[in-house]
Every structure is written in structure tokens, then in C-alpha cells.
């Protein structure tokens, strides 16, 4: 299991600071979106984050606008998963629909510090940190299907193709 660094942030990280509104209808490609990830919260994040790293944050992560690019840009920047005390509803859906795992685990967030190196066992549902291991509730099977497919578009495409073959 790959171990990687954690970027730690606070409560109410909103979608405007994750992906500013001025780009929402102008930047269309994920690779370009990644260059603006978290721009108004942590201007250094996008240039320094490495593939496979994690974000840990407080409550209500992803509140605000429904812009799906907030999930797309983090995924494209290489973020492996987001661990938070809680997620705002639309962001939670968007992250899964972009194939970006979201883990609700207040205990792990409380223990983690910025820069900690951790591993996440998605099969067992456990976060391994320098401060100990923290179990988390895995997502329902139907939702995991979307994550496994790499996102909702791939999932729906597969489903439609299967229906076509059946009929």
C-alpha cells in the first residue's frame, strides 16, 4: 500500500476556493483545471501536490457551488482521496461521480497534522497514520460501483451498453 503525504485544511472549505468561479466556464480540460486546484485557499498547493497524496479537512468540505470541477481539479491534481469530518452534499456526489474517493472519518482528521505520511486501505476501510489506525465506514455497494468504474459517466455508459445488448 502506497504511503503518501497529507495536506491538512480547516472547516467549510468551499468550492469557490477549490476552483474559483472565474474559471468555471472558461477552463474546460481537467489538466488545466488541476493547475488552479485550491488556488484561493492555498496558492502553493497546485504546484507542489504530488500524485497519490491526500487531503484531510474539517466539516462541510466542498460547500457552496455545485461546480463539479471542484472535484475534477483535485482528482486531476493527483489527490488520491479526501478525508473529512463531513462533506457538503453536492460535493460528496460530485467526488464519487468523478471517481474521487471521499472518506468521512472525524477521528482521523482530529489526529492528523499537515505533512503526515499515511496509507489508506480501501478494502479494509482503514486509515493508517503515525498516530494510529482509524477505521472508516465504507461506501454502499451501489456507490462503490461508480467509483470502481472511474466515475458516473463511465458507469452510465457501461450500463447503457449492457441494456442495449439485453434488448
Amino acid at each position: 500500500m502506497k504511503r503518501a503525504k497529507v495536506w491538512k485544511y480547516g472547516d467549510n472549505v468551499n468550492t469557490d476556493v477549490i476552483f474559483p468561479g472565474k474559471y468555471t466556464y472558461a477552463v474546460m480540460e481537467p489538466e488545466e483545471m488541476a493547475r488552479h486546484a485550491l488556488e484561493d485557499l492555498d496558492p502553493e498547493f497546485a504546484s507542489r501536490v504530488e500524485s497519490g497524496e491526500y487531503i484531510a479537512a474539517g466539516k462541510n468540505f466542498g460547500c457552496g457551488s455545485s461546480r463539479e470541477q471542484a472535484a475534477t481539479c483535485l482528482k486531476a491534481a493527483g489527490v488520491r482521496a479526501i478525508i473529512a469530518v463531513s462533506f457538503a452534499r453536492i460535493f460528496f456526489r460530485n467526488a464519487i461521480n468523478q471517481g474521487l474517493p471521499v472518506i468521512q472519518c472525524p477521528e482521523a482528521v482530529a489526529a492528523l497534522a499537515d505533512g503526515d505520511v499515511i496509507a489508506v486501505d480501501f478494502i479494509e476501510g482503514e486509515i493508517r497514520t503515525p498516530q494510529g489506525n482509524f477505521p472508516f465506514a465504507r461506501l454502499p455497494k451501489s456507490v462503490l460501483g461508480i467509483l470502481d468504474a472511474g466515475g458516473l459517466i463511465a458507469y452510465t455508459k457501461r450500463r447503457l451498453e449492457a441494456e442495449k445488448i439485453k434488448s
Partner: protein, 417 residues
């Protein structure tokens, strides 16, 4: 145990009784998208289907950057128009109509008991007319276009019982800001918010739209008012199709029941950089600002514009302030033109812009420079939202914004009535 409005409508759609917490697969009545339709089309095209499954359910309203402020936006709009023509979509509203939430409501698509999904976080607005409406993402809209269905979790419900009467100079915006400040930005995360109690029915449809629009800033999935005579009156000449309103049962199971005496609420201001950072006006009185915004899907209707106009009448905008007035739709623009409100704004020195989202999301029409401060009737004050990340946004009612624009600093509108 009885059922809430949300349990009933999602149960009706699912074809079986459901309870909060269950996940249901349902087919929506309407699916809204705006300028983001261009991105949704790209996702839809990856799905391998040629046609939208239920094209008459789609409502597309261009409002976020209208008219196109740059070539990229123009290309998005062009792609959307071509898609609309190719798919034979009937409910397309081009750049001249106004903000999606206002247009969808005034065009009679938002009906009691309807299930409406939208690729915009302020989609909960339509609960003002008794609909169940919630925001979703782009991939989901593309998927719904192709499959005509979506999974939704049946939300728990917070009931807010309102009593008493509003003080003069205080409006729905002050009440909802007070509630968000008191309860927190994530208080209603994943939940429905039902505005109830004797005083709830006193609010106009426009004010109910303010409450349901801002439910999103409490994290809510949807907001709701019981449809009543005012709802029927509003829908009389505009409802598109039949409808069957739904009410929560008297013995419904609520996650929480909150109360509020409206008479205790004075003018409120949400301070940077979160919507729940709310204080009474007295705490921020005297703070200078450079730009005022009166408009948006929250507060750009005739009642808001007339409230502001009454304050501007016979007065001038302070020389250190720029005031942008943006009616929520062409219909509201026309109503404000006929009522004389627009003339008062122009005489006072305001800049009247075309209906649309304007600078609310920081894309065009009044971007803030580093170090600047805005006082706005919009629904969000997140860092950098209206431009520079070094700028600040305060949120308030139309009356507070108008009075403050005359004063040149944040001030109590009750001194200007």
C-alpha cells in the same frame, strides 16, 4: 408516524412508501442547466447515446455570463444553441431572459409537488412554490439526460416554525441570514428545511424564494413552503401543466423543530468569508465599501428593487461607491421599469445592468480588485468569489445595501425609511 413533504413526494415518485435515510431511484419532472450546459453536452456525448431520453423535461437558461464576455463564453453559448436545435429542445431561454431560478419560476415550471433537479446549487429555490428541488452535478445531469433517472437519498427534515411580525426595514433576507448565523453553514447538510408556522404564510412568493434559495447556505438539499392561496395566485396564469401539492403530515417525524419570533430580528449582515458569519447591523456599522450589488437570484425581484428604490428616491449614491443594479429577469426588469424604480436608480447614480448572474460568481460585470470591499444582496461571500482573493464581501438585504450605498459605509436602513 406521519410523513414529511420530502418523504411523500419521493415516495410518490418511487411508487412506494419511503422514509428518511432510504435511497430511491426516481425520474425527475424537470432538469435545469445553464451556461454549464456546454460542459454537460461534452459529458453526454461520451455516453454513446444520440438522443436525450425525455427532451421535454430539459430546461436550459443562459444566465451566468450573459451576454458572452469573452470568446470562450461565446463558444459555449454557440455550442449550447446548436445542441438545443439538434435535439429539438423546447424549453430553451437564451441570454435575454434572466437568472435561471427566477426564469424557471416565473415561466411556470416550478409547481407544487414537482421533482426538479438542477446543475446549480441554488436549485432548492423552487421549494418556495412547493416543489422538491435539489442541486446536482454536471455528470449527473448528463446521466439523467440519457437515462431519465437518478438516485436520491430521502432527506431528514428540519422544521422552522416562524411566529410574530417583521419590524419595519427588515425583510426575508435578514431573517434567513439570522437563521444561518444562528444554526451554522452545515446545520442542514443533506436535509430538507421546511419553513412553517403562522408567520411563514405571510411572506410573498418573492420572499419565500429568498428563504429557499438561501437554504443552500445552511447545507440543505431542498427548502419548502406549504403551497397556499398565494402560491395558487402566483401560478394562475403561468403554471405549465397540472399539479398536485403535498403537505407534511401533522405527526411527521422531524430531525429538529426550531422556532423564531420574527419580531426579534433586526437588519443582519454576513461578514467575510462565510455566510454563517452573521452579526446584527450595529456590529458592522461604519465599515466602508467600494461596490454595492443589488440583484442576483436571491434579491433581484421587483419587491427587492422597489425597497431599494424607496431609499434611493431623492438621494444620491455616495461618490466613493459604485452601485450595480441587476434585475433577476427581463420580466422583473420590465416591472421595475414600469414602476419607476429603474428611473430612481438612474437618477441616484446607480449602474443598471442586464438581467443575469452578473459579478456574483466573479466571472464578469464588476470584478473586485485586491483590497476592495463589496456589500451585496447575493447569497455567498466566499473568499475571492467576486474577484481578487484579497477582496471582501459582506451580504445584506436590499434595504441595507441601498441605505449603505447612500451613506458610503455599512449602515442601518431603518434610518432611511
Amino acid at each position: 408516524m406521519g410523513k414529511t413533504f420530502s418523504e411523500k413526494i419521493l415516495g410518490r415518485k418511487a411508487g412506494k412508501p419511503v422514509c428518511a435515510g432510504e435511497v430511491v431511484t426516481v425520474s425527475p419532472d424537470r432538469v435545469l442547466s445553464h451556461d454549464n450546459t456546454a460542459a454537460i453536452i461534452k459529458e453526454f456525448e461520451k455516453l454513446g447515446v444520440d438522443r436525450v431520453k425525455s427532451p421535454d423535461k430539459l430546461i436550459i437558461i443562459l444566465d451566468h455570463v450573459v451576454p458572452a464576455a469573452a470568446e470562450k463564453y461565446a463558444l459555449n453559448h454557440k455550442n449550447i444553441r446548436e445542441f438545443v436545435a439538434a435535439q429539438g429542445l423546447k424549453h430553451f431561454f437564451d441570454v435575454s431572459h434572466g437568472i435561471c431560478h427566477q426564469v424557471l419560476s416565473e415561466e411556470g415550471f416550478a409547481l407544487p409537488g414537482a421533482l426538479i433537479l438542477g446543475a446549480d446549487s441554488h436549485t432548492p429555490s423552487y421549494g418556495a412554490l412547493g416543489a422538491f428541488s435539489a442541486g446536482i452535478g454536471r455528470s449527473e445531469v448528463a446521466s439523467v439526460w440519457a437515462t431519465d433517472e437518478i438516485w436520491l437519498r430521502v432527506p431528514e427534515t428540519i422544521r422552522i416554525e416562524m411566529s410574530g411580525r417583521l419590524q419595519a426595514g427588515v425583510s426575508a433576507k435578514d431573517v434567513i441570514l439570522h437563521l444561518i448565523g444562528r444554526e451554522g453553514a452545515d446545520r442542514a447538510n443533506y436535509m430538507a428545511v421546511e419553513y412553517a408556522g403562522g408567520a411563514a404564510g405571510e411572506f410573498s412568493i418573492g420572499s419565500r424564494l429568498v428563504f429557499c434559495n438561501m437554504a443552500a447556505e445552511m447545507g440543505a438539499k431542498n427548502g419548502y413552503f406549504v403551497p397556499d392561496e398565494k402560491t395558487l395566485e402566483y401560478l394562475r396564469d403561468r403554471a405549465r401543466g397540472d399539479f398536485d401539492g403535498i403537505e407534511s403530515d401533522a405527526d411527521a417525524d422531524y430531525a429538529a423543530v426550531l422556532t423564531l419570533d420574527l419580531g426579534t430580528v433586526g437588519p443582519q449582515v454576513a461578514c467575510p468569508h462565510t455566510v454563517d458569519n452573521v452579526v446584527p447591523i450595529e456590529k458592522v456599522r461604519g465599515i466602508p465599501f467600494q461596490q454595492a450589488l443589488i440583484g442576483t437570484c436571491t434579491n433581484g425581484r421587483l419587491e427587492d428593487l422597489e425597497t431599494a428604490a424607496r431609499i434611493f428616491k431623492g438621494r444620491r449614491v455616495h461618490p466613493g461607491v459604485r452601485v450595480l443594479v441587476i434585475p433577476a429577469s427581463r420580466r422583473e426588469y420590465l416591472a421595475a421599469l414600469r414602476s419607476g424604480a429603474l428611473e430612481i436608480f438612474a437618477e441616484a447614480g446607480c449602474l443598471i445592468l442586464n438581467p443575469g448572474c452578473g459579478p456574483c460568481l466573479g466571472a464578469h460585470q464588476g470584478i473586485l480588485a485586491p483590497g476592495e470591499t463589496a456589500l451585496s444582496t447575493a447569497n455567498r461571500n466566499f473568499k475571492g468569489r467576486m474577484g481578487s482573493r484579497e477582496s471582501e464581501i459582506y451580504l445584506a438585504s436590499p434595504a441595507t445595501v441601498a441605505a449603505s450605498a447612500v451613506a458610503g459605509y455599512i449602515t442601518d436602513p431603518r434610518e432611511y425609511l
